[in-house]
């Protein structure tokens, strides 16, 4: 993903927010969490801040196995995904039908100053770009999608989320110039307790 291509991150997230089901868990991390938090909060949001970078997909798998009646949506970045590519194999070994990973591919480590990732064309001596959708298909994801334009994402999201899962969606997004790391929205223990209560049907 080059810096001059891709849909705006916030607009892509606004589309997700608009389509979000009330009973759906949304896991967000890193720069995506920063933007997601500006759109409001929800009892079933798991803002994964602080995190162990790369582990959002694994956390999502655990939730998907524990809560098979709910859709679990993981909003992940390409740098984070590169840190935990093996999780794609782990996920497909379990085949959680309710798990959707949306990969926001901006090609850079945005919050550290937009250095190119080793998966982006700018970060590779050959100038090629890692095809995350092909990786996901090779790992065994049942449904994979790739959206390069915001309008296509807005109109195609419902079909992409309709399954059968596990589903892997790649969105080409533009980096946010000067984008900072997300701030924790509050004490972790309290947030975990509230999230678990919301899953049990209490707020």
């Amino acid at each position: 993903m080059s810096a001059d291509r891709g849909m705006p991150l916030k607009e892509a997230l606004i589309a997700v927010r608009a389509a979000r089901r009330e009973d759906e868990v949304v896991i967000s991390t890193m720069a995506i969490a920063r933007e997601w938090m500006t759109l409001g909060d929800h009892p079933l949001d798991w803002v994964f801040v602080p995190s162990s970078m790369g582990q959002a997909t694994s956390l999502g798998l655990g939730l998907a196995l524990a809560q098979p009646q709910r859709r679990i949506l993981v909003l992940n970045g390409d740098g984070s995904q590169l840190m935990n590519l093996g999780s794609l194999v782990t996920i497909t070994a379990q085949q959680p039908a309710n798990l959707v990973i949306v990969l926001f591919d901006n090609g850079v480590y945005e919050i550290t100053g937009a250095q190119p990732t080793p998966g982006a064309a700018a970060g590779r001596s050959g100038g090629d770009r890692v095809d995350f959708g092909a990786l996901a298909r090779a790992c065994g994801f049942r449904s994979t999608f790739h959206f390069t334009r915001l309008e296509a994402w807005r109109t195609g999201m419902a079909a992409a989320f309709a399954g059968p899962g596990p589903t892997f969606v790649v969105l080409d997004v533009a980096p946010v110039p000067g984008g900072k790391g997300p701030r924790s929205p509050g004490p972790t223990v309290d947030r975990a307790r509230r999230f678990m209560a919301a899953l049990r049907g209490r707020s």
């Binding site: 999502g60 655990g62 939730l63 196995l65 809560q67």
Partner: protein
């Protein structure tokens, strides 16, 4: 060290619903009995994943346990830190202590030098088990940790 049916029976008694692991030769031998007891086994590709998968399971209302070798403990430090210390989730782990009982295969195995200092550095309340007659130590620590809803570990010597 211990039989699979012993371990599976203990896990069942403690309400463990999922075991998340990268197996070594000791734990791998337990897997059929654990699965046979109705506990779901989730194999991960690398140990850092195990803590995060277990965290998701716990948040979702299950009672997971992590099993890995000490080398996997080394690999998974940041994920462990996040789950046990940032979020304070009470995930119990079973850790294989490579070369503790026999250094013929890997003389001077540095896993021996670093395992316990690292467990202490991560402030994990662990019990060292070096003989088959210490199953009660394993069971007692798991049961106590579950009752108190706190993280803990057993470090089981391997040859």
């Amino acid at each position: 060290m211990f039989r699979g049916d012993q371990v599976a029976s203990l896990f069942t008694r403690c309400g463990i619903t999922h075991v998340v692991l990268v197996p070594d030769h000791m734990m791998g031998a337990w897997v059929p009995a654990i699965e046979g007891a109705g506990i779901r086994v989730v194999s991960v590709c690398r140990e850092g994943e195990a803590w995060a998968v277990a965290a998701g399971l716990y948040l979702g209302g299950c009672q997971p346990l992590v099993m890995l070798q000490c080398t996997g403990l080394f690999e998974s430090g940041d994920s462990l830190r996040n789950v046990l210390h940032d979020w304070k989730l009470p995930i119990f782990s079973v850790i294989g202590y490579r070369s503790y009982l026999n250094q013929d295969k890997l003389p001077g195995d540095t896993a021996l030098a670093f395992t316990e200092p690292i467990l202490k550095a991560w402030e994990i309340d662990y019990r060292l088990i070096t003989a088959p007659d210490q199953f009660d130590v394993f069971a007692g620590h798991l049961e106590a940790s579950r009752r108190a809803q706190r993280a803990g570990a057993v470090l089981i010597a391997e040859g």
